[in-house]
Amino acid sequence: MHEAPVIELGGLHIDLSIILMLVVTCTIVFVIARLATRNLSVENPGKLQNFMEWATEFVQNLISSTMDLKKGKPFLSLAMTMIMFIFVANMLGLLFGVVTEYDDPAKATVFGQEITSVTKILTEEHAKHPGEEAHAEVAWWKSPTADLSVTMALALLVFVISHGLGMIRNTKNYFKHYVQPYPFFLPINIIEQLSKLLTHGVRLYANIFAGEVLISTIMTLAKASVVGAIFSVPLLMVWDGFSIFVGAIQAFVFVILMMVYISQNLETHEEEH
């Protein structure tokens, strides 16, 4: 399996590939959004503006399907940011991969910094099988959403926003909801909320990560032999197509769940099932 290029900087573990991919994703999203809204026109919108407005209306419909649009309007920007970020992030891992291989712990450096994740693995390998050649591969280019830390960050953000809004704007109903229908349901309700946080993040991560694993597996097959290379081409085409579909669906699912969670915590009437 591919390792992450982690360096230690002032006691912090910095994952360079995550930083790189986050920067790339944010840049792409911002450039697309900026290009689409560069020449805004009320009466004669350009193609990109039309596309962006279509996306906005799509997200608006998505919000209005979970809550009153008046209440949901402040979340439009957030939902747009989320859906664009997640979609672009999901797509990035499909294009290509950048992998570096290391055999010698001394050579595993970047910008003069030791890649601790690689050296750790190499020394472990050496310890397990002394005398054998140790080997580690580092993936530099991958979907940022194929990392659990990142998807949990997104889920955590949604969790904090939805529960924060619930506590501030809907205090009475929010807290009452934890002891519904009976007070002894309190632990169950808390577990439910926590499981929502967990599944929200893990669902996205697992889908994208699985897609990337299969792509790298097919790549391994392609490298193995000539027959494998021939077989891998249609396989890769099919799986890439499916991954695009999955990536789009997961972005959609993530955002609609975000709106559902927010609307649940803002609900004034009890409608728990």
Partner: protein, 162 residues
């Protein structure tokens, strides 16, 4: 797969910055433009409705004006018909009067002329008859005097009877 909390923090920061930038430079203007377009469409719709209302009112007005004009035209025709028939009657009356007047005049003229002719004839006949008579009875009847008067009287009697 382990969670590296530094990654989580970095991802949160990245999303936060992206949200801020997009909100400020892309979505804010986009949403305001969409809102403006919505307002524009609303305004144009209401304007169109207003224009249609105006058009309907205008057509109604036109219809009323046309009706009025038609009525007036009818009135004028009626009036002129009346006037013309009256005039015709008047003219006919006048013509009749004129004709009768002319006829009367003519009759009177004829009468006068006849009277004059009769008068003339009478005097001539009188004179001629006197002449004839004097020629026939030269000595018995003199031209002047009682005999002439007698003849005149007689002749007048004859002329009056005719």
């Amino acid at each position: 797969m382990e969670i590296v909390w530094e990654n989580t923090v970095i991802a949160l920061i990245a999303i936060g910055i992206l949200y801020f930038l997009l909100n400020k430079y892309a979505f804010g203007p986009l949403f305001s433009v969409m809102e403006k377009r919505r307002e524009l469409v609303q305004q144009q719709l209401s304007e169109a409705a207003q224009t249609r209302e105006q058009a309907t009112a205008f057509v109604e007005e036109q219809k009323a004006a046309l009706q009025q004009a038609r009525k007036e035209a009818y009135d004028i025709i009626e009036q002129s018909k009346q006037t013309s028939s009256k005039q015709a009657a008047q003219m006919l009356e006048q013509a009749k009067d004129e004709a009768s007047r002319l006829k009367d005049e003519a009759v009177r003229d004829i009468q006068n002329e006849k009277n004059r002719a009769v008068e003339q004839l009478r005097s001539e006949v009188g004179a001629v008859s006197v002449k004839i008579a004097s020629k026939l009875i030269e000595k018995e009847v003199s031209e002047e005097g009682v005999q002439g008067e007698l003849v005149d009287k007689y002749l007048k009697e004859v002329g009056g009877r005719s």
